[in-house]
């Protein structure tokens, strides 16, 4: 065939049928298979085609108008296949061109960027799109809707992160002057809202308890959102994801800005890890433990920010502002006081909170944020089980991305800011399950390749997670095996730890482990800093589950806030009446015991009974026995005689185990500072039928 274009060279073109509709379809189909091979074939042919022209190939780096090709395109435009053909040529050329060479392309070849969904066509050449010469490639700006959506996404991320932090700041009871003395003490806001909307939490608890607990029904809404829009939760809503997005932005990875960074944002095999973890956690849940909450991003965020970042911030601020008090300036002192008052009323509480072994929780947060240096959005891409869970459902999403490989110049700009590492670039199939729907790729694309739309073509999309079946089965099996392995340790059925004192309203321990997702909401809300993340007290399965450490804080008698914020019902929403035992048996979380060897009235003949004073039950579970006891004078007698003996009147405290609720107020206030003379242990807790002392409570038939 002779060269049929206006270049007039008349040279025979060996392999050169002009691209026809059928041809285009063919090449597209070939590309849709997503193999490099196809591309090479196409490019080889096209180069041969174009190579016939003496003029330099513009996208090979030469500047200037190439009239022959211009004419060729014009001719083709007259054909039915016009735009498709142009696309085909363009794409074929790029396969052999360098990634960044697009910038040198001539304006003539810049295609119209408008009319998003029209897919090209003869008409497009007439529409003059605004071409920005500063933009790389063809300089086609992204659709206005996409640019708008990117900003909407940023606003959404900031807004949801702010909401999350606001809820966290409000997870704590601050009294109010508007409330009268009989106002019921509850938090006014659904501060656990993010957890209620968390489908992974729901899935775990559905598998373990076969029920959807109260507010967790909200998670169906989040699932619905995913089914329509894909993983918008990850890119638009998730506060932990936003944190990683932010840190990836201000502390960009060691990969820098160039090709390394592009490489880092390509899909990697390690991204499968989160799916394996997710399936392992779901199987663990099916076998009776919601241990996956350790890795749920919302739980991680509440736990590490609520128990780590906020108290640490308070500590630093307190130190700094208290330091100002030593400066002799009335204005500075007053200012410092008012600042502390304000912060205590808005961000934290009026006293410093401390949390058991929270250094580990905080260190893990720092570590996972730091990992962004090595793998951008390491948490979201590699570990997040909620992201994996939503990824499984993203296959059904009605909204999604389609791409026209034919137009791709391999500039890789889409990869520079890709959040999910979901292969937005040309030549490979898009990974819908990995995509965070951040829209950065379409916003960056200078060639009109990427399009987000409803009911996209899925020809160039992989919707399902790409998993290896054997690894999947192995990880699921590991999740299932974890539970018996953890439980044949002696921490649960036998030798239950005396210090595993669960919050009031907690369900029986096995049911508790089925529900507790270690979100730390209860610990954050506890007004007395009584609830703490366990380390190994409750066995390896119980890491970060709540335990009461009375030496730090006791269970406030009339408080039921931990149940109010518990999203999964591990702590039930009991009322004050139920807790105090008005009309019913009170909720007991343990029992107090005296260490007579350390107790002042018992062994040191010194009056005390602070424990009795603080005992909140009525009648008091601590009662005192009036005794007269001999005590030796501290000073030796005259002439070196033995010190004199005298008699003192004392009140010696005793516990009535049938009245004691185990709140730990006595342990908290015991003046024997290091190791208290009165302490609580879990025995006698009303949720257990076996961890009891008294015969009358040993009733295997009773309902609770």
């Amino acid at each position: 065939m002779a060269c049929g274009t206006s270049c007039g060279c008349g040279k025979a073109v060996s392999l050169a049928p002009k691209p026809t509709l059928a041809d285009t379809e063919l090449t597209r189909a070939g590309m849709h298979a997503g193999t490099e091979l196809d591309l090479e074939r196409i490019s080889a042919r096209s180069i041969a085609d174009l190579g016939a022209h003496p003029s330099p190939i513009p996208w090979k780096g030469t500047i200037g108008i190439v009239p022959s090709l211009n004419a060729m395109l014009a001719t083709e435009a007259q054909a039915v296949t016009a735009s498709a053909a142009a696309a085909s040529t363009a794409s074929s050329s790029t396969a052999s061109s360098s990634a960044a060479s697009g910038g040198t392309a001539d304006g003539v070849y810049r295609k119209s960027g408008g009319g998003g969904g029209d897919g090209g066509g003869a008409g497009t050449s007439k529409k003059k799109a605004k071409i920005d010469p500063k933009l790389p490639g063809s300089g086609i700006p992204a659709r206005p809707i996409i640019r708008g959506l990117v900003w909407a996404r940023r606003a959404s991320q900031v807004g949801f992160f702010a909401l999350f932090m606001y809820f966290l700041f409000q997870t704590g009871f601050r009294g109010s002057f508007t409330a009268s003395s009989d106002t019921v003490v509850r938090l006014p806001l659904p501060v656990e809202g993010f957890l209620l909307a968390d489908p992974f939490v729901s899935a775990m608890t559905v598998l373990s308890t076969h029920t959807v607990y109260r507010g967790l029904l909200w998670s169906v809404g989040m699932l619905a959102l995913t089914l329509v829009f894909g993983r918008v939760f990850c890119g638009w809503i998730c506060p932990f994801g936003t944190l990683h997005h932010f840190f990836g932005w201000i502390l960009p990875s060691t990969k820098g800005r160039g090709a390394h960074r592009v490489e880092a944002n390509k899909t990697h095999g390690y991204q499968r890890v989160k799916y394996y973890m997710m399936y392992a956690f779901l199987l663990a849940a099916l076998f009776g433990s919601a241990v996956g909450g350790m890795f749920d991003p919302i739980c991680v965020a509440v736990r590490s920010i609520g128990l780590g970042v906020i108290p640490a911030g308070q500590y630093v601020t307190g130190r700094g502002l208290n330091g100002l008090q030593t400066v002799h300036s009335q204005a500075l002192q007053t200012g410092a006081d008012h600042t502390q008052d304000f912060l205590a009323q808005t961000v934290w509480q009026s006293k410093q909170f401390y949390f058991h072994q929270t250094w580990l929780i905080l260190s893990l947060l720092v570590a996972v944020l730091f990992m962004n240096r090595f793998i951008p959005r390491f948490w979201c891409r590699v570990l997040c089980p909620l992201g994996a869970f939503l990824g499984v459902f993203a296959r059904f999403a009605l909204f999604g991305m389609e791409k026209d490989h034919a137009k791709c110049t391999d500039c890789n700009l889409c990869l520079v800011n890709c959040q999910g590492a979901d292969s937005p670039q040309g030549g490979v199939k898009h990974r819908q399950d990995e995509c965070h729907m951040c829209m950065n790729c379409e916003a960056a694309c200078p060639e009109d390749v990427i399009k987000f739309r409803f009911l996209p073509s899925r020809v160039s999309t992989i919707t399902k997670p790409d998993l290896q079946r054997r690894t999947l089965l192995a990880s699921a099996a590991a999740g299932a095996a974890y539970i018996p392995a953890a439980r044949i340790a002696d921490s649960l059925d036998v030798n239950y730890h005396s210090k595993v004192i669960r919050p009031p309203g907690a369900v029986e321990e096995r049911a508790f482990l089925e529900r507790c997702i270690r979100c730390a909401e209860c610990m954050k809300v506890c007004p007395n800093n009584a609830l703490h993340p366990a380390f190994l007290e409750a066995g390896v399965e119980g890491i970060w589950t709540p335990i009461l450490i009375a030496r730090v804080g006791y269970c406030e008698h009339s408080c039921v806030l931990c149940g109010q914020v518990c999203p999964t019902g591990a702590i039930q929403k009991i009322t004050e009446k139920e807790k105090l035992g008005i009309g019913v048996a009170p909720v007991k979380i343990g029992t107090a015991f005296y260490d007579h060897g350390r107790c002042l009235p018992w062994s040191m003949q010194t009056p005390c009974i602070v424990c009795e004073e603080f005992c909140p039950t009525s009648p008091k579970a601590i009662w005192v026995e009036e005794v007269e006891a001999p005590v030796r004078d501290s000073k030796p007698g005259p002439n070196g005689e033995q010190p004199a003996m005298k008699t003192v009147k004392l009140q010696r405290p005793h516990v009535d185990p049938s009245l004691c609720i185990g709140c730990g107020a006595c342990e908290k206030v015991c003046p024997v500072q290091d190791q208290p003379a009165v302490y609580i242990t879990s025995v006698g807790e009303s949720r257990s039928k076996t961890n009891v002392i008294l015969l009358e409570n040993t009733n295997y038939n009773q309902k609770t």
Partner: protein, 337 residues
């Protein structure tokens, strides 16, 4: 200049620079070391000098006819008139010559009720909010610039302040309510017999006038507590240790804090299971207010409400002996209204 070879010695300038740098660092570290030198030892400071006092008492009141201790009871009301806390407080203050005698225009007045426990007003473990409200009103009417209400609670302060009803009623009257936040406490030297250095709730001591508004109630260790024991709320830190010598610590505190006025709330009195109570059956309605300039006399009289006698309360004797008041209230000008 020739380029230097590795084996060249440094020239004089270079050598002096190096020696000078080393000497400078040495000198600086020697200075820092000398300045910050800790010679060791415990260095226990001896408490010396006289006891610290914070007195908010006003100079001797004008009218000699005014009572130094006034008891207002329901009997003082006219037939058909409703017995209210506000009325009782007004009666008692009128007998003492009126609030204007104690609070001057422009004063910052701190009111120290008992907000120790997470109990409702009906349990009578905290000061009755109506009594607090009545005192706030009186203070404002007397011309106070600012009225501050605060206490260091035993239970969670937010809960105590709210559930006692005091926050709500005080705020409604325009008083400033200050929670016992950690940063409000500063270590002060009281030089008491058992209380030397303790963290003190600064809000309560930074005032022109301090009005002590305790609730009269039973206390299992101290037997009866009201005015003097109410100063426990001034302290922060580990005050649970004070119970080992509760009488002396009460006396120390009462020595440290001399209020302008004491107004004891005995509207409803906790007769048993004090100080926390929790059972309405343990309380008895008495509709009584005791006002006094002498906190010891107020307690000596108040303890009779729950059937105690001043001789059984060692802290009264200690306070009496220290001269901060008299336990023999009959020696004062007492008025019953």
């Amino acid at each position: 200049m020739e380029p230097k070879k590795p084996q060249d010695r440094p020239d004089r300038r270079e050598a002096l620079k190096r020696i000078g740098a080393a000497a400078g660092v040495l000198a600086a570290s020697a200075v820092v070391g000398k300045l910050a030198w800790d010679k060791g030892g415990f260095g226990v400071g001896e408490a010396s000098g006289s006891r610290m006092m914070r007195s908010y008492r006003v100079a001797e009141p004008g009218q000699p006819a005014d009572a130094e201790l006034a008891i207002a009871r329901a009997a003082g009301f006219k037939e058909g008139e409703e017995v209210t806390a506000e009325g009782l407080v007004a009666h008692a203050l009128a007998a003492m010559g009126g609030m204007k005698k104690f609070v001057k225009r422009g004063d910052i007045v701190v009111i120290k009720p008992n907000i120790g426990w997470d109990r409702a007003p009906i349990h009578a473990a905290n000061t009755n909010p109506d009594v607090v409200a009545a005192v706030i009103k009186e203070a404002f009417n007397a011309g106070a610039k600012k009225v501050v209400v605060a206490d260091g609670s035993c239970n969670d302060p937010n809960r105590c302040y709210q559930r006692s009803g005091i926050w709500n009623k005080s705020y409604a009257l325009g008083a400033e309510v200050v929670l016992p936040a950690e940063h409000r406490f500063r270590t002060m030297r009281m030089k008491g017999e058992v209380l030397d250095e303790w963290p003190v709730f600064t809000t309560l001591v930074e005032a022109d006038k301090v009005i002590n508004v305790p609730v009269a109630k039973h206390h299992n260790l101290a037997k009866y507590t009201a005015a003097m024991k109410n100063w426990y709320g001034v302290l922060g830190g580990r005050r649970n240790r004070l119970h080992q010598n509760i009488d002396t610590s009460i006396a120390d505190l009462a020595t440290f804090m001399s209020p302008t006025l004491v107004i004891v709330d005995a509207m409803r009195v906790l007769m048993r299971n004090g100080p926390q109570g929790g059972n309405i059956d343990d309380t008895r309605v008495m509709n009584t207010i005791i006002a006094s300039v002498d906190q010891i006399a107020a307690d000596a009289l108040g303890c009779t409400l729950i059937g105690q006698h001043r001789d059984n309360l060692p802290y009264l004797k200690m306070g009496h002996d220290r001269g901060i008041g008299t336990m023999f209230y009959e020696n004062l000008r007492v008025k019953e209204v």
